[in-house]
Symmetry: C2
Subunit: 156 residues, 2 copies
DNA sequence: GAATATTAGTTTCAATTGCAACTATGTCAA
DNA sequence: TTGACATAGTTGCAATTGAAACTAATATTC
């Protein structure tokens, strides 16, 4: 007794946001397997390290702005990394509300150990892609995001 | 004092898996806003309903297989939907281990109320895309996934 | 047929995550 | 100068999530 409503022919696996979900999960699972297995780092911890790796000193807010994470998660990651000796926190002399955060030598070493593996995996994700195709994929993802962020698009 | 290691020029925001993350988050947040605000449904609940909408009766395992969720999350969503009167559970006569799950009339009504809104949003994500571009995006996401799922790609 | 293994699905336990509340510091207006 | 308000970041509480353990039913082996 199949429901006669044509909209009930909806198929979740053809539904774009669902497809994006499994795409994202596949990528995230592959990447996180690396830093989890090598150094038992969480996603948040990896991200904080990644942000700090290319900057000398940042405040927590600056990490928040650069990492697509909430201040809560950043704060927790900082706490954990500090406990692991991978990150150092000083007080900003100009304004005591701001932390001055940087990777320790050990933190830099961990990051530089992980990075080749992670960059290799990133390349393997694009096996069989031309540079143009790769750029197209990235550009199109950005376009979808812009459509979602522009108020016009959410008229109903 | 910038670290001299060229790999420390790593920029998280150019890192593909990170870009996928924010893309995924943007899409998921937009979609879940609909079913959350209209019917206070969780992602898992929506997915179970979506799977059941196009099938008459399924077991929990079949929902698991079609929804990219674990049996735990499916079980919890089923329990919750049942409590909300949106889903009915019977025992499968052939094998008592299997549930026979279906949407109630109310559940079908909720789904059919949500669906137009959700499909409209899906279309709006693709504003400005030609059909060919849309198909390309989906195909390329699938290719990345296949690269990750194929053992050859994960050589190191 | 009985013992054991496997399967379907639920529940428990622990970890993670997000919202709200909180503390410390700084800014601004009166 | 003082009090109200804002900001940076932390912590508490509750909800969510995932691994493991569990129960009930069925399949397999001897």
């Amino acid at each position: 007794m199949r429901h006669p409503d044509p909209e009930s022919d909806f198929d979740l696996t053809d539904f774009f946001p669902y497809q994006v979900r499994i795409y994202y999960r596949a990528i995230t699972d592959a990447i996180s397997r690396i830093y989890k297995s090598m150094f038992d780092l969480s996603v948040s911890e990896w991200r904080v390290m990644a942000v700090l790796s290319s900057k000398n000193v940042l405040s927590a807010s600056q990490i928040v702005a650069r990492s697509s994470m909430t201040k809560v998660n950043v704060s927790r990651a900082i706490k954990s990394l500090k406990a692991q000796g991978l990150l150092k926190r000083d007080i900003n002399g100009d304004d005591k509300r701001f932390a001055a955060l940087r990777l320790t030598e050990q933190g830099v070493e961990v990051f530089n150990t992980l990075l080749p593996h992670i960059l290799l995996l990133e390349e393997q994700m694009f096996k069989g892609f031309t540079p143009a195709e790769r750029a197209d994929l990235i550009a199109m993802m950005a376009r979808v995001r812009r459509n979602l962020e522009s108020p016009d698009s959410l008229d109903k």
